[in-house]
Subunit: 368 residues, 2 copies
DNA sequence: CTGAAAGCGCTTACAG
DNA sequence: CTGAAAGCGCTTACAG
């Protein structure tokens, strides 16, 4: 170390800031000197390699422990070529759901990575420059073993047909032809259970407010249709409106469009996302349409909004933490050259709150 | 997006997974062989050291560029003891504001760190174990040059009287006796401008809903009092209620307490945080108290809620991005042994929306 | 202005 | 079961 060297040459040690890589750091050599055992043996003992006496191993471990030995990653990296780090790229700009998603996903990843000795290096997408350097080139510069990337449902994606020469896991969205692995939630099933829940309460005219196509919201729509099909309810295009953007205003206007259409009003409504639902509730409130008495609502995301509306929003929960966890496991397997599924689809669950609360015994025909 | 340039390189298709630290990586030695120049000289040229001919330097740089040379950090680290990485610790559990804060702060840090060749390593607080291993010990294991830590206003803190032997910057909150540097927002001034704005609109009976003591919310309260003082308005304890916790329910109940008190009702209300304000608006709505006609509202945080309420919430904005940026600059200075202020206090601004919109010309006395 | 050499801390193929 | 030695890629004090 820099400072250690200074000390040895008799140069006065600066007092102010001491780096974390402090001079006193115990090395294998220190242990070797104290134990009278070779570096080779110590390295083996500490890394749990087979083929050595238990007694030697224990003795070494005890001393390492007492001396507070911490392996210097740089030395190991240089020697093995293994970096033991995973890169995680966060979007370069702020959009509200992003932050929450990233933090939970990161925690999920860290819980897997840290015990395995991996660290998580975070980079901003904007680092790669406005000239759109290729991800491959960027990844080389990063010096990580593999990359993870979270994609929000409305992120634009330019797919590629070239498989990547390193492990890449995309979280939250599937992008075809990328040669990546994926961790996604079962959006379609989420749409299904959110709709089925309304059907089970006796609703037949169930509307849906969705979002842009080619996003998770489209898959939720598929789930909605599947649930109707399963219940033998005919799909009515007049009951579906797509919000221009996934915002509360988008939800408000979509709801407006829906309720200003002539014909029978829906008695229930499945919103493709909580943030849309927020606008929907606002519209209904403004127009004195009661929830759940006049319209029952289910939604998707189980975000903080679900708990903050009145009544609480019944919403589909997907675990961002689990996404991170599975992504990390996938990456570790891929780095070790083990087989890993091309895609992991995580289960979802419906969190039932007041917005869909309706006397289930009331026959459906009394409601129209 | 990253993806755009993706297919453009004629990268040969690898048969299986190749690590990012691929064997083909160009090293200084490769450059040395091609150029017929020593490693020493190449290293110097690439790192911009003085005392060499421009011609040699340019020749070296050109070849390095052409060969796509990327310095291997592990080698440099081993040689210099400098790690070029900053640790950032995120909370181990989920609380809503956290995620947003972390993501913005990270972006702010990355914008400073990446160009300087530093990487950001993220760790979960839970990694350090429930036994509250000392931060010092934990930091040693991390192998980073310095640490940053974001503290939410309601995070518990275990203070320490031992100064730390490495650079530590605390973001968003000041903790005494820790030997750390701080980046905080000017919470007090925020409280002041949020209150002064109401005073300028002619209000005299201005209530405040605050939060726990020893948090940022307490400093916002100080700002509120300072603004009243400056305007010659007597502080009335009956107009201040502290929410039990910083949640919308906390805000709701605090508002309930406030409005059920006998005596003159306030005509304006400064909420210590948007999430409290959310509950306040709910209470007022439920009781047919109009905003801003009956009560004008200002708040703090300028979170997504501020835009999602009706009317929009006038709220104090602090830049989390700027906090990250300043924290990173501070850390870099400290690592280099340069002087850095013990604390940087960032400015705040009031974002005016409908909730405080009131005809300013109406004399105050007509309002009671 | 340039280079030869030592060394950072670790791992591992090879030899005993 | 254990050790001596080479080497990973870089930087820098020292010598020319």
């Amino acid at each position: 170390m820099l400072w250690a060297a200074w000390g040895k040459r008799g140069v006065p040690k600066p007092k102010k800031i001491v780096k974390l890589s402090s001079p006193g750091e115990t090395t294998l050599r220190d242990l070797s000197e104290e134990l009278g055992v070779s570096l080779t043996t110590i390295s083996r003992a500490l890394r749990g390699k087979q083929g050595m006496s238990d007694e030697t191993r224990e003795r070494i471990k005890a001393v390492a422990e007492r001396r507070g030995y911490i392996s210097n990653k740089a030395g190991a990296t240089l020697s093995t070529g293994r970096l033991f780090s995973i890169g995680y790229i966060i979007p370069g700009e702020d959009r509200w759901p992003t932050g929450l998603l990233q933090a939970d996903v990161m925690r999920g990843m860290l819980n897997e990575l840290t015990p395995q000795g991996y660290s998580l290096h975070v980079y901003s997408e904007s680092y790669f420059g406005t000239d759109r350097t290729s991800l491959l080139e960027a990844a080389r510069r990063l010096r990580v073993d593999a990359l993870a990337l979270t994609i929000e449902h409305d992120d634009p994606i330019v797919p590629s047909s070239h498989p990547l020469p390193f492990p890449l896991v995309l979280i939250n969205r599937r992008v075809e032809g990328l040669g990546a692995n994926f961790v996604v939630a079962d959006e379609e099933r989420g749409g299904m259970i959110a709709t089925a829940h309304l059907i089970e309460s006796g609703h037949r005219r169930i509307a849906h407010i969705g979002g842009p196509s080619r996003t998770a919201l489209e898959r939720r729509l598929h789930g909605y249709r599947a649930a109707l099909d399963a219940a033998g309810i005919a799909f009515d295009p007049a009951l579906v409106v797509h919000a221009d953007d996934v915002s509360w205003r988008g939800g408000y206007h979509a709801c407006e469009t829906l309720f200003e259409r002539s014909g029978d009003r829906p008695t229930a409504l499945f919103c493709g996302s909580d943030i849309l639902a927020f606008g929907v509730l606002k519209y209904l409130e403004n127009h004195a349409i009661r929830v759940p008495q006049d319209v029952a609502i289910t939604s998707f995301d189980d975000s903080m909004f679900a708990e903050m509306t009145e009544p609480g929003l019944t919403s589909v929960r997907k675990s961002r933490h689990a996404m991170g966890r599975e992504a990390a496991r996938m990456l570790l397997a891929l780095i070790d050259g083990k087989a890993a599924p091309a895609q992991i689809m995580l289960p979802v669950e419906l969190i039932v709150r007041g917005s869909s609360d309706r006397p289930a015994r009331l026959p459906a025909r009394l409601r129209h």
